[in-house]
Symmetry: D2
Subunit: 115 residues, 4 copies
């Protein structure tokens, strides 16, 4: 992941695109790509969504859209100085405290979003 | 990142939440969190967005929302069998071919989304 | 709908919020609210989503989020000079030409997004 | 708007697409289209976004994406039995109580999302 972040920095610098990579713009690009990823699943049943990678065309698009989300997320985090892995572990710590396994077992209804 | 993915698997298994973690639902959760991250920037000027982490409250929220996006993205990729780092490098390869540095220098207008 | 648009103009003017209501910012606010609406459905099965309004709490939140999306959409359209009803009818004209009823009957797979 | 809703009902019925139009799926389609609309603005400065309709190509895309958001929003509201205009007026009533014009004048920072 560090190597990927360095590669993105070089990619943006070589094209003088750093001027466009404000956190505001990157958050927009990230949400836009998340919307494209979402669109791949919108007419699938939950069951069909489980096997989406078995279809070569749909599978390729899903992989490509997930990659775009990842690229904008890591770029945004880099620009903001956020360590994503550390931040994610902090959220899991919080999740483990908040949703004890016994109480929330098998129930998503009881589990509001973490943030 | 591998360790984080293993931790998420254990977290979901301990709560019997795997039943909710269909790709369709995870793509929804991912897009929802991307929307919350986006909302942190919606009334900021591009310039204000650059220094968002200097404000302790806003900075904490942004870090937390970015972590949520990362958690759902890595969980979705895990469920689908996608290697995010490899997929992102493939997209950067494609981007380097498509947007040669000389032609696209300083212009975001000319650069349509990668996908 | 015209009355609602006029009311929003007065609401923004009275608070000197027009400065924040650039199309860029309003598109962000709209997507953020669409993400909140989406989040109401993320852990529901398709069948559960059909009866979401039967639950007073969830029903109230869904109605409120749908209203927020509508408010930002109509405000954005007003700022941009777009007649939403006319634009939507134009898209339906296009959809009727593109997806003839016989060919696309019962198949969402065959129907790519209109845009 | 009532006429538009009736037209959408007929459009879906003629193609036997009602089966796909669960609230869950429609909320996904709505968020996906909101993401596409957002993407039109992601690399524009706030100032450039104000004149986006002056460019025939970008203007056409923005109008088309706004229409798509509107179509899925009105269809979702129809399926759920929500009167969007009434719900939006209720939110404006709430907004007028919560954000009195004197206190919030000229400040978006002080104004958290309505919901």
């Amino acid at each position: 992941m560090d190597e990927l972040i360095r590669r993105q920095r070089a990619f943006a610098a070589a094209r003088d695109w750093e001027q466009f990579h404000t956190p505001k713009n990157l958050a927009m690009a990230l949400a836009g790509e998340a919307g494209e990823l979402l669109a791949e699943f919108q007419w699938l049943t939950p069951e069909e969504s489980v096997t989406v990678m078995d279809d070569p065309d749909a599978g390729h698009r899903v992989r490509s859209e997930a990659a775009d989300v990842f690229l904008y997320l890591t770029r945004l985090a880099d620009v903001l100085g956020i360590d994503l892995v550390q931040a994610a572990n902090d959220k899991l710590d919080e999740g483990e405290r908040r949703y004890d396994a016994a109480t929330y077992r098998g129930s998503a209804r009881k589990a509001p979003p973490l943030s």
